[in-house]
């Protein structure tokens, strides 16, 4: 990690040849604070008398060497993992030892999400819904993190976190109703597909604007801290969204105001067509943590147990120490960015195939279960058939339902309808009544 190496070098340079070896600084600021106390061994006395007093960096010290901090000098943050690509756990102590039913449930939901993705993707291709975004390859980041949280921990997401909702109990009908924008959609048919939200499941409604949820998560977490419920907030975002100004604001606010929020970055290699090489030059997103004074960790996003362990530990720190944590889950976006995108234009099929066939989160968990003899190909076949039936049934229910009444176009702009909006609603309905054959009124519930 670049920054720690830099600090190590500074420490060595500052000690002027006196042997002062720190292989790894666990917490740089604390370490330096200790070093600067008068009892610190090995450093010339005059350095402590001549300590910089600049308020902007009280833990710093003087050097007479002109030397730039070079991020290329350091090591990258390592990727934490629990099991290999064949589902074999490296170190039993790190196996979260979730019970068989929980793991089977997790696996079934991951595949159910995958099945729903395939069917809704196809339905968009047939023009039955207007838009869709799949979750291919990122299922472990959703279920691993969701399982490590409490249901009362509030989620603010980007848009590729449907698995979190599924884990919390969002039903296939709930998903389909939103995508079809029918009368049962909690969002009253106002937003594009995949912009889910659920009050009961503490999942704040998704919006298209990237990274805007991030400073909101910091604020939400601050309110949660004041309320003293012992909960935290988790905020999901992609590595592309992390380039937005709101991400910077969010990290900085959460750190300075000590908000218990887990910033969970899904680093899947692409923001639409933009590879990470065009997105940033540092060591990923997790690397920026030191600048904000935040703890951070990088995890194998295709390893559901690693994601679970990391999120659970992060949650503990966030709640107990009331501070933000950065989790960077490394993964790969196997699907197209959305149904409006053809990713073969900017990346090779070979690359995609590697992640789909050789390092897939669902495949890895299946190996784990097969190793334990909790799962076999017969069960796989049966579950696949059942999952498909469940999805198709919800799909056809959602498709048949009417859209919400037109009055819902006007409500909820404010808590109550201002007089001007009342007039506009009347104007709209009078107009439609005059031209009944020019508007698809038969698809909508009648107005009250």
């Amino acid at each position: 990690m670049a920054a720690s190496t830099w600090l190590l070098r500074r420490a060595l340079v500052g000690s002027r040849g006196v042997s002062y070896h720190i292989k790894k600084l666990p917490n740089t600021l604390k370490a330096l604070r200790l070093c600067s106390s008068s009892s610190s061994a090995g450093r010339p006395q005059h350095e402590y008398q001549d300590k910089p007093r600049f308020p902007g960096a009280l833990n710093s010290y003087y050097t007479e060497k002109l030397e730039f901090d070079d991020p290329d000098d350091g090591e990258a943050i390592p990727v934490y993992r629990v099991m290999d690509r064949n589902g074999k756990v490296f170190n039993e102590a790190h196996d979260p030892k979730l019970d068989k039913e929980t793991i089977k449930n997790m696996y079934k939901q991951m595949t159910l999400l995958n099945t729903m993705d395939r069917i809704l993707y196809e339905s968009q291709r047939q023009g039955r819904i207007s838009f869709y975004m799949t979750n291919y390859g990122e299922e472990a980041t959703h279920f691993g993190s969701a399982a490590a949280l409490l249901p009362e921990d509030v989620v603010l997401g980007q848009y590729r976190e449907a698995g979190v909702l599924m884990w919390r109990g969002f039903t296939l009908d709930d998903f389909m109703n939103q995508c079809y924008a029918n009368q049962h959609d909690f969002g009253k048919g106002r937003q594009m597909p995949v912009h889910y939200g659920s009050k009961n499941l503490n999942f704040i409604t998704i919006s298209s604007t990237l990274a805007t949820q991030m400073p909101q998560a910091s604020g939400y977490a601050y309110a949660v801290k004041r309320a003293g419920t012992g909960n935290c907030v988790i905020c999901y975002f992609g590595e592309g969204a992390a380039s937005e100004g709101d991400a910077h604001a969010a990290f900085n606010f959460a750190a300075t105001l000590e908000a218990p929020v887990i910033f969970f970055c899904r680093n899947n290699g692409y923001a639409i067509s933009t590879p990470t090489g065009d997105q940033y030059r540092g060591d990923g997103i997790g690397n920026c943590y030191r600048g904000y004074g935040m703890k951070a960790i990088r995890v194998d996003g295709n390893d559901v147990f690693a994601v679970y362990n990391v999120t659970k530990a992060a949650r503990k720190i966030a709640v107990e120490q009331s501070q933000p944590i950065m989790v960077e889950a490394m993964t790969y976006r196997i699907g197209h960015h959305s149904t409006s995108d053809d990713s073969s234009v900017y990346r090779s099929l070979k690359e995609v195939n590697y992640w789909d066939k050789e390092d897939h989160p669902i495949g890895r968990l299946r190996h784990y279960m097969e190793n334990k003899e909790w799962w076999n190909s017969k069960m796989e076949e049966e579950w696949k058939r059942e999952a498909r039936q469940q999805v198709m049934a919800a799909f056809s229910r959602a498709e048949k339902a009417l859209k919400p009444p037109v009055e819902e176009m006007f409500s909820d702009v404010y808590d109550t309808l201002p007089s001007r909006l009342k007039k506009q609603y009347k104007e709209c309905m009078d107009h439609v009544a005059k031209y009944p054959h020019e508007y698809p009124t038969e698809l909508y519930q009648p107005d009250k």
Binding site: T209, A223, R226, A249, F253
Partner: protein, 380 residues
């Protein structure tokens, strides 16, 4: 260009060596003073407090705002006040003493980031807390435009009312101050008037500021509350010390009249008070003066009713003419009061330029420009 440079030079020397016996453009010194609206020349006429609101105390505008926030912090344990430099009392003294009284977790500084401040406030409000955010100058609200327009304003609508950030209020000092130039003078209300889901409020004095701020904070919708900074110290009146509210989306008729309806808000109301008096004294024209108070959603009915009576309308605001909120009022009134109108609706506004430094006296819709427009429509 030489002419402009010459003029600038003259003006500069005039301002730098103020006072002077005569104006370089031919006017007298006192005439120049009235052109140059600054803290020392603006006439603030205090309102009378309602006897129903009980005991009063002399307060200026910033003190009445502090008083309103004090009431909220005292009565609502979820409420917090935050922004750049609010902890020590704020650069305009609006939050003096609140941190000491309520603690640093309730009145606190944020990092210097407007998008962060508003995003943070939305998050707090979504969690059900009362969030009172301060943007140091309205001129610096634009980094938070995305959070206000795409997020705060649409939070309730897009979630089907599952979630809302109705307990968010964003306060920001606005308007001319005599020497604020581009980035300490702007009136930005019309940018927000185009955003369904937001409420936009501007008070004209301490009594109004306190009552409207209390309503804004308690309103169940996100409110952007603009405070005319030139009035922070200058506007002093007897403000009720208790808890009272002034309803949003209700204009106030300050003076009744029969010949011309005059509409404005914020500092401009005090300019228009002078204009109404000049019209009466010099032209024998009776003006009906209306303080709009809430820009969005605005009180159409009060304005319609007045224009149907007078047949003439003058709107004046400091913000630039093109796309200013005067345009919205003008076209709406034209649509609804067409048969009553006896003259074209007049808009007296800032020119379509950035807000200038040295040229401020020539930029503002001062009483002479308003008076001239009033003459024009009353004799149309």
């Amino acid at each position: 260009m030489a002419g402009v440079r010459e003029l600038t030079k003259l003006l500069k020397s005039h301002l730098l060596h103020f006072p002077r016996k005569s104006h370089p453009l031919g006017g007298s010194r006192s005439a120049f003073q009235t052109y140059g609206r600054c803290a020392s020349t603006l006439t603030f006429v205090p309102d009378s407090p309602s006897p129903l609101d009980g005991e009063t105390q002399k307060m200026n505008l910033f003190q009445s705002l502090t008083n309103a926030m004090d009431i909220i912090l005292d009565s609502d344990p979820t409420s917090v006040v935050f922004g750049e430099d609010v902890a020590f009392g704020g650069v305009f003294r609006c939050t003096v003493g609140l941190k000491d009284k309520y603690g640093k977790d309730r009145v606190f500084n944020t990092p210097l980031s407007e998008q962060g401040i508003v995003g943070f406030g939305i998050g707090m409000a979504a969690a059900g807390a009362t969030a009172i955010a301060e943007i140091q100058f309205a001129d610096y609200i634009f980094p938070a435009f995305d959070q206000l327009v795409n997020e705060a304003a649409k939070f309730r609508y897009r979630s089907g009312n599952l979630f809302n950030c109705g307990s968010l209020t964003v306060r920001a000092p606005c308007g001319a101050v005599g020497h604020g130039a581009h980035y300490h003078s702007q009136s930005v209300e019309s940018f927000f008037a185009h955003v369904p889901g937001l409420k936009v409020v501007i008070p004209r004095g301490p009594i109004q500021a306190k009552g409207l701020l209390l309503s804004s904070i308690r309103d169940k919708n996100p409110v952007v509350f603009f405070e005319p900074k030139i009035l922070y110290r200058q506007a002093v009146e007897e403000v009720p010390v208790g808890d009272y509210e002034i309803p949003l989306s209700e204009a106030e008729i300050l003076e009744e009249g029969s010949d011309v309806t005059v509409v404005g808000w914020g500092t401009q109301i005090h300019v228009l008070r002078d204009v109404c008096k000049m019209a009466k004294d010099q032209l024998g024209v009776s003006c009906e003066l209306i303080d709009l108070r809430t820009i969005l959603p605005w009180d159409e009915d009060t304005v319609f009713k007045s224009v149907m009576k007078t047949g003439r309308l003058l709107i004046a605001h400091e913000a630039t003419l093109t796309g200013g909120f005067g345009a919205e009022i003008s076209s709406t009134v034209q649509e609804h009061c067409f048969l009553s109108l006896e003259a074209p609706i007049q808009r007296v506004c800032g020119w379509d330029t950035p807000f200038p430094h040295i040229f401020e006296p020539f930029y503002l819709p001062d009483k002479w420009r308003c008076f001239e427009a009033l003459k024009k429509i009353s004799s149309y």
